[in-house]
Symmetry: C2
Subunit: 468 residues, 2 copies
C-alpha cells in the first residue's frame, strides 16, 4: 500500500466530516434567495482550506457570488505551479418531490458498488473539491514534506451552475495571482467505478433564440386559416431542416472548423467500456439512441458537435382549444462545439441559415447572446498528461497505460481559463455517469472520492518529477 | 321606398336604444365571473322580445348558460315555421389595453362608410339578433298583419363563444318546441357594405392535441445531446410533414370526403369582390398569402379544409437558456372541414398518421376530444334561398340575382341544428369582414344593421309566399 493510501485510509473521517458540513449549506447560485448560502459556502471552504494548511486563503468577491482562492507555495526552487479549478455552488433541487431524501441532509446509502453519499453537490462539485483537502495532506505526509512538491493554487468559483457570468472578469482581474503552469480541473469524472479514466476534452456551447413573426396579431383560424402563413408551421419546417436524414446539422459552415476524429482518437474512445442498453435504461432514460450517422454514442456525446432544440413555444397552450393562427413562434437552440469551433461564429451562421429558410410572409429574428463557451482539450502527449496518468494509475492500482481517455459532452468555463492563463488543462474528477448530477438523488460513490484524494496526492509529486 | 324601409327608418331610435342597453351587459360566457351577466343578458332579451310582441317567451336553463326561446305563431293556416338562431353571449375582451373605448360602453363613431357603433358584441351577435326585433315589427306594420306571415321562432343561446357545450343537449330536449321548416342563422355577415351577399356554408371543426414523449425526464444536453431522440425535433419534423409543398394536408384519407368545387361554385365565389392587398393590410395583418396551391384566398378560407397548428410547446421557455433535451413536446391542432367531412373521422386518421411518422424512441399520444362541428351548407336552388335573395335584394335595392354568395370559414353549432331538426339552413347576417369580431374595437356599421332589419322584415313575407 502506498503511503498516500495509508494516509487517506486513516483519515477518511476527516473527508466525511468536511463533506457532511459543506453539503448542508444549500449554495444554489441560480436562486437569489440562496445568495447568503453561497456566501456561507465560500466562508466554510476558506476556513477548511486554512485548517488544511494553506498559508494564503482569500475570498474574492465578484459582481455575483464570491470565489475562493488559496495558495500553498512549494519551497522547492523552480517548482511548477498547478491551479485547481472547481466550484462551490450547486444546482437547484426541483422537482423536490422526486428526491428520496432531503437534498441538503447528506445521507449514507449502501449501494451495489459500495457506500454512497446522497446530497445535492455530493459530487458536483463539492465532492470533487473536498478530496483535494485530504489529498494535499496525504501528499505532505507520504513524502515527509513541509510544503507541496508543486505550488498548489485553487480557484473555486461560486457561479458555475449559473453559467459563470462573472468568472471571465475575475480571471482577467486576478490573472497574475492565478498564473500557473498547468490547470487541474476537478469537475468531471470517470467512465465507471472499475474503469480509471481521464477526461481529455469538453465541448463548447453557443446558444440562440429564434423568433418567427407572421400576422401582427393572433388571427381567427376560421376566418384566416389556410390562407396566411402560420408562424408555428414555419417554425416546425425550419427546425425540421436543422438536421438532415443522416443526423448532421445542415447549417452551412457549421462543420468547417471541426477536425475529423483521428484513428487514434477513435481507437482510444472505443476502449472505454460502454453498455448502450444499460445507458439507455439509466439516466438517459430513453427508448432508443439517435444521432449523427457513422459515429458511436460516445463519439456523438463527446466528440461531435450538435444542435439541440431546448425549448419551443407559441400560440395557445392552455386547456381545450383556441382556434388561432398565432402572431409568433419561438425556439431556443443550443449548439455543442468541438475542436476549433468558436461560439461567436455560430450566431452569424445560424442567422444566415434562418433567413434562407423562412417562407414569404414570415419575419425571422435570431438572438445570440454574447459569450458562449469554447471547446477545450488536453494534450494527450504532454509530460503533464503523463503525470496525471501515473497518479491515476497508482490510485487505481493499474498501469498508467491502462488509464482510458473519455470526453465530457458538457461545457464549462475551462476554455476561458486556458484563454486567460495560457496554461494547459488536465482533468481529475471522481464522478460517475450514474451520479445523477443536476437531477434528483445526486450521489457520490465514496470509494471514488477516496481514490480521487489518492490521485491528487500522487499528482503533485508526479508533476514535480516531470518539471523541465 | 318600401313600407318596411319606412317603418325601419322611422324607428331607428328603438334599435339604438335596445342595442345600447343590451351591449352594456358584459355577457362573457367563457369567464365564470360573468355568469351573472350572461343570465342578465338572457333576462334582458326575454323582456325585449315580450315588449316586441312575442306571445311566448321563455328562458331555457342549460347545464351552462341559459338560452332564450320565443315564438310568434302565424294566424295563417299552414304557414311555414322559421327558426332564427343567434347567441346573446360575447367574446372576452382581453387584451383590454388595445381597445380605444371601453368595450361595454357602446360608443357611436363616424366612419368612412357611415356611423359605427363600437362595443363587444356590437355585431357578434347582439347586433345580428337585435335587428330582428325591429324587423318583425316592420313586417307587421308594412303588411298590416296582426301576426307574422310565417310562424317565427327564435332560439338565442348563451354559450356560442364557449363552443356551445350544452346546445346539442338543449336541441335534443326541446326538439318538438323548436320544430321548423327552415332555420335562419343570424350570426354572419356580408362581403362589403356595398356588396349584398348571403353566406351559403360554414366549415366544420375537429381538434386534437399531440404529445410526443422521449426520455423519461429532461436530460442534460451536454451529456446526452446528439445521442438520444429529442421530442422537440420529432415534433418539428412531424408538423413539418403535415402539409406538402403544395400546401395540401398530407394525412391519408383527409380529402376523401371533400367534394371538388364545381365550376358554378367557383364562378359564384369569384364574383365576390376581394382586394387581397387590402385584406392583408386589414384584420389579416399578414405580410403574404399562403395556402393550398390552385385555390384563391376566398376558396382557401371558405371552401377548402385546413389543418392549422394553434399551439406548440415543450422544454425550457424562460429567460436565458437551459441546456436540456426535454421529456415531452406538445402541439394543438385544429382542422376546418368542408362538404362531407365528419369531425369524428379526423381523430383516427390523425392517429394513424402520427404513429407512422414518429421516429424510433419517441412515443406518441393523440388526444381527440369527442364532439367537434360538422360542416354545413345551404341549398342554393331551394325556394327558401329564393326568398332570402328576394329579401336581401329589396333591402339593398338590387336584383336578387345580383346578391352574391359567400362562405364562412368559421364553425358554429349550425350543423347540429340541421342534424337535430332536419330543416334546411339560411344565413342572414349584417356583419362585415372589417368588424373586428373576437378582437379589440369590435364594431357594427349601423346602416348594415338597418338593412338587416329590412331584410328580416321582407324575409317572413317572402318565405310565406313560396310555401308549398
Amino acid at each position: 500500500m502506498t503511503s498516500e493510501r495509508e494516509y487517506v485510509t486513516a483519515h477518511l473521517e476527516d473527508l466525511h466530516a468536511d463533506l457532511d458540513a459543506w453539503l448542508r449549506i444549500p449554495s444554489i447560485s441560480a436562486d437569489p434567495a440562496h445568495a447568503g448560502d453561497v456566501a456561507a459556502s465560500a466562508e466554510w471552504l476558506a476556513e477548511a482550506l486554512r485548517r488544511t494548511g494553506f498559508p494564503t486563503v482569500e475570498i474574492w468577491p465578484t459582481a455575483g457570488a464570491p470565489a475562493v482562492f488559496a495558495e500553498w507555495p512549494s519551497a522547492d526552487a523552480g517548482a511548477p505551479v498547478a491551479l485547481v479549478y472547481g466550484h462551490h455552488d450547486v444546482q437547484p433541487v426541483d422537482p423536490l418531490e422526486l428526491w428520496d431524501r432531503p437534498p441538503f441532509q447528506p445521507t449514507r446509502v449502501e449501494g451495489p458498488d459500495g457506500p454512497e453519499l446522497h446530497a445535492r453537490g455530493a459530487i458536483d462539485d463539492k465532492g470533487n473539491v473536498a478530496f483535494h483537502l485530504l489529498g494535499i495532506r496525504a501528499h505532505l505526509a507520504a513524502t515527509g514534506r513541509a510544503t507541496p512538491a508543486v505550488t498548489v493554487k485553487l480557484i473555486i468559483e461560486g457561479e458555475e451552475e449559473s453559467g459563470s457570468p462573472h468568472f471571465e472578469a475575475l480571471l482577467e482581474e486576478k490573472r497574475d495571482r492565478l498564473a500557473c503552469d498547468v490547470v487541474v480541473v476537478s469537475d468531471t469524472g470517470m467512465a465507471a467505478p472499475d474503469v480509471p479514466s481521464a477526461v481529455t476534452a469538453m465541448r463548447g456551447l453557443a446558444d440562440a433564440e429564434i423568433t418567427l413573426r407572421g400576422p401582427a396579431v393572433d388571427l381567427h383560424s376560421g376566418s384566416f386559416g389556410g390562407a396566411v402563413p402560420n408562424p408555428l408551421h414555419a417554425m416546425a419546417e425550419l427546425l425540421a431542416k436543422l438536421h438532415d436524414d443522416q443526423g448532421r446539422v445542415t447549417i452551412p459552415g457549421f462543420y468547417d472548423k471541426v477536425l475529423p476524429l483521428s484513428d487514434r482518437e477513435r481507437e482510444l474512445m472505443s476502449r472505454v467500456p460502454f453498455d448502450e442498453q444499460a445507458w439507455l435504461a439509466g439516466p438517459a432514460a430513453s427508448r432508443a439512441t439517435y444521432g449523427e450517422a457513422g459515429y458511436s454514442t460516445l463519439e456523438r456525446t463527446g466528440a461531435r458537435p450538435t444542435a439541440e432544440v431546448n425549448g419551443m413555444w407559441g400560440g395557445y397552450t392552455g386547456p381545450g382549444h383556441k382556434t388561432i393562427i398565432p402572431a409568433e413562434a419561438h425556439a431556443k437552440v443550443t449548439f455543442r462545439l468541438v475542436s476549433d469551433q468558436k461560439p461567436q461564429d455560430i450566431g452569424p451562421l445560424l442567422e444566415s441559415w434562418v433567413a434562407a429558410n423562412v417562407p414569404a410572409g414570415i419575419e425571422a429574428e435570431v438572438h445570440t447572446p454574447p459569450g458562449g463557451v469554447a471547446p477545450c482539450a488536453s494534450d494527450l502527449d504532454s509530460p503533464h498528461m503523463d503525470a496525471l496518468l501515473a497518479a491515476i494509475g497508482q490510485a487505481f492500482d493499474c498501469d498508467p497505460a491502462d488509464v482510458l481517455f473519455t470526453r465530457e459532452g458538457g461545457s464549462g468555463p475551462e476554455a476561458a481559463i486556458v484563454e486567460a492563463l495560457g496554461a494547459p488543462l488536465l482533468f481529475l474528477g471522481a464522478g460517475l455517469p450514474t451520479d445523477r448530477i443536476h437531477s434528483p438523488n445526486e450521489r457520490v460513490l465514496l470509494p471514488m472520492l477516496y481514490r480521487g484524494a489518492e490521485a491528487a496526492a500522487h499528482l503533485w509529486r508526479e508533476l514535480a518529477a516531470r518539471a523541465s
